[in-house]
């Protein structure tokens, strides 16, 4: 039942992403599509969002996937659907990377990689300090995980017992101009995080049951890192696993074909 709901939400989010990408003529559609299932699971099942003042916090650290977040917020009724129309439009409200003053539900400005992850640690620590049960979820990219700042945070977080902090790595293995596992010594990524003192899960980042299970797992007092194996461009066959769809523009023809597949 819940999984069905998440699946429906994910389809709608993907369709919105395609529409936004088409209208704006902007890039980043591949990386937005790869994280949709994770966002849908977080917003439609995992996160506490009913009592808004005490809500759980989600930070999209790989903020070039902003289209996915905007659409997710609309799907959950947090952001007005009208705003989506203004994405990257002249005089519009929603930029291609996140500005926390642009709309409800944008918890954190981001765009330069390797910031949101560490900001999330600070928020989680603040919640702990106050004795609050609020939780923090941060989505980082695999390309982003090359940033030194991420490793500064990785080294530091386990000393604080931040079991209210969960990072999810959208491991689609394609960044702007290559593949993380070829550009650097990326693997073995899971054991690196384990060695740093994190509770690590590895999952299929498009399997809703696996996502829900990993998010719900008890992290035994540690901060959690979920390595989510994903497919860049997921859901649109001609975009899947294609490097070009980091920057490629959605034309009218692409849009029609994509929407057909996403019905």
């Amino acid at each position: 039942m819940v999984v069905k709901q998440i699946k429906q939400a994910a389809s709608q989010i993907r369709r919105d992403v395609i529409e936004m990408a088409f209208r704006s003529g902007g890039p980043h559609v591949g990386g937005a599509l790869s994280c949709v299932d994770i966002l849908a699971a977080l917003y439609h099942k995992i996160m506490q969002l009913e009592n808004w003042e005490e809500r759980d916090i989600f930070i999209l650290s790989k903020a070039h996937a902003a289209m996915a977040l905007y659409s997710t917020l609309v799907s959950k009724g947090i952001m007005s659907p009208d705003l989506l129309e203004t994405y990257c439009q002249e005089g519009g409200r929603l930029p291609a990377h996140l500005d926390r003053f642009s709309g409800r539900g944008i918890e954190c400005s981001a765009g330069s990689l390797g910031h949101g992850f560490n900001i999330g640690l600070g928020v989680a620590s603040g919640f702990k300090q106050r004795g609050s049960t609020r939780r923090v979820f941060v989505l980082i990219g695999d390309g982003e995980a090359q940033e030194g700042s991420v490793w500064e945070g990785a080294l530091f977080a386990p000393t604080m017992g931040l079991d209210n902090f969960t990072a999810i790595m959208d491991y689609n293995d394609l960044q702007g101009y290559g593949s993380p596992s070829e550009i650097c010594c990326f693997e073995p990524v899971a054991s690196k995080w384990s060695a740093f003192g994190w509770y690590v899960c590895e999952i299929d980042g498009h399997d809703h049951n696996s996502i829900l299970r990993a998010l719900a797992e008890d992290s035994c007092g540690k901060p959690k890192m979920i390595i989510a194996r994903t497919v860049k461009g997921k859901g649109v066959s001609f975009m899947e696993n294609q490097l070009i769809w980091h920057y490629y523009i959605v034309t009218a023809e692409h849009r029609l074909r994509a929407l057909e597949e996403l019905q």
Binding site: H115, G116, N118, I119, L121, V123
Partner: protein, 306 residues
């Protein structure tokens, strides 16, 4: 100055539950008292400047008033982008407390000097910047930063500086006349104040006492206040322990042009270039032409032509 600032913050912590202090593995002994009283509100963030600033931003987003303490280059040079995006862009009430302004830390070497920070802050909208000249201004800066809802950067030298002007009621955001003078003004900020004061005493004895103006708040600059205070002078000498091309002097030059001010302007500061010269602060000030004797020479020379 450092102790006046920190003590004011620590005093406030007894009444405020929302204050958090982060240190970048700096300030040996400075926070001992605070750590004892409030162990859960102090954290040594280690040698990880990017994480420190982003983490501070997260704490601020969760409702804390965060003070980050470090030597100036480590406070916001490496992590300039974190300060720009996470603190300033998000308008978070974080206070960056920097020590070792200018060449205070000589002879530690160029990596430890901060002679371009005033240039950098002019590229960081929302960042209120205060450069106190003595412990009295440092205390006022602390009170201001405790109440500020905007990001603040405090540019401190070290500890042990004398009180230069004790005025219990003044506005830290406005320029201050700290010694009276006639037609020539010496405008300055921060720790160069001891050289300025020494020069003043000597010049006064020679009958050419300049108007001394401290400008503690460099951003936003109180332009109207500066123009008003300088309205009766013919010439302004700006002295600072900072690159001459990008500090208060350059702001005054811009102001002079924008406002068509009639006063002449002479800029004194550290020449634009990397510092390879070795010596203590006093030696370097003398070497780079911002010592008391150089201020005396400059004012006397302008006076001769007046």
């Amino acid at each position: 100055m450092r102790n006046a600032f920190i003590d004011t913050i620590i005093d406030a912590c007894s009444e405020r539950e929302d204050i958090f202090i982060l240190s970048g593995d700096a300030g040996l002994g400075v926070f001992d008292q605070f750590k004892e009283k409030h162990p859960d509100r102090f954290r040594n963030m280690g040698i990880a400047e990017q994480n420190t600033i982003s983490f501070a931003s997260g704490l601020a987003l969760s409702g804390y008033k965060v003070f980050v303490y470090n030597i100036i280059p480590f406070l916001f040079y490496r992590c300039y982008e974190q300060v720009r995006n996470d603190i300033c862009y998000q308008e978070l009430p974080i206070v960056l407390v920097g020590v070792g302004s200018g060449i205070t830390y000589a002879p530690m070497g160029m990596t430890h000097y901060s002679v371009e920070d005033i240039g950098l802050i002019q590229t960081l909208p929302n960042l209120v910047t205060i450069s106190p000249m003595d412990p009295v201004e440092a205390r006022a800066a602390a009170v201001y930063s405790l109440n500020s809802e905007k990001p603040v950067y405090i540019r401190l030298a070290k500890r042990g500086e004398p009180v230069i002007f004790n005025d219990s009621t003044f506005d830290i955001t406005a320029p201050r006349i700290v010694r009276d003078g006639e037609w020539i003004a010496v405008v300055f900020h921060g720790s160069i104040s001891d050289e300025v004061l020494e020069a003043y005493e000597s010049l006064k004895n020679s009958g050419i006492a300049p108007l001394l103006v401290s400008v503690p708040t460099l951003q936003p600059l109180d332009a109207a206040g500066v123009i008003s205070i300088l309205s009766k002078v013919d010439h302004v000498v700006c002295v600072e322990e900072h690159f001459v091309n990008s500090g208060l002097g350059s702001m005054l030059a811009r102001l002079k042009t924008e406002q068509s001010a009639q006063w002449g302007l002479t800029l004194m500061g550290v020449p634009y270039g990397f510092i390879h010269e070795v010596g203590n602060c006093e030696y370097l000030r003398s070497f780079y032409g911002i010592s008391a004797s150089e201020i005396i020479r400059t004012v006397t020379s302008i006076s001769g032509a007046h």
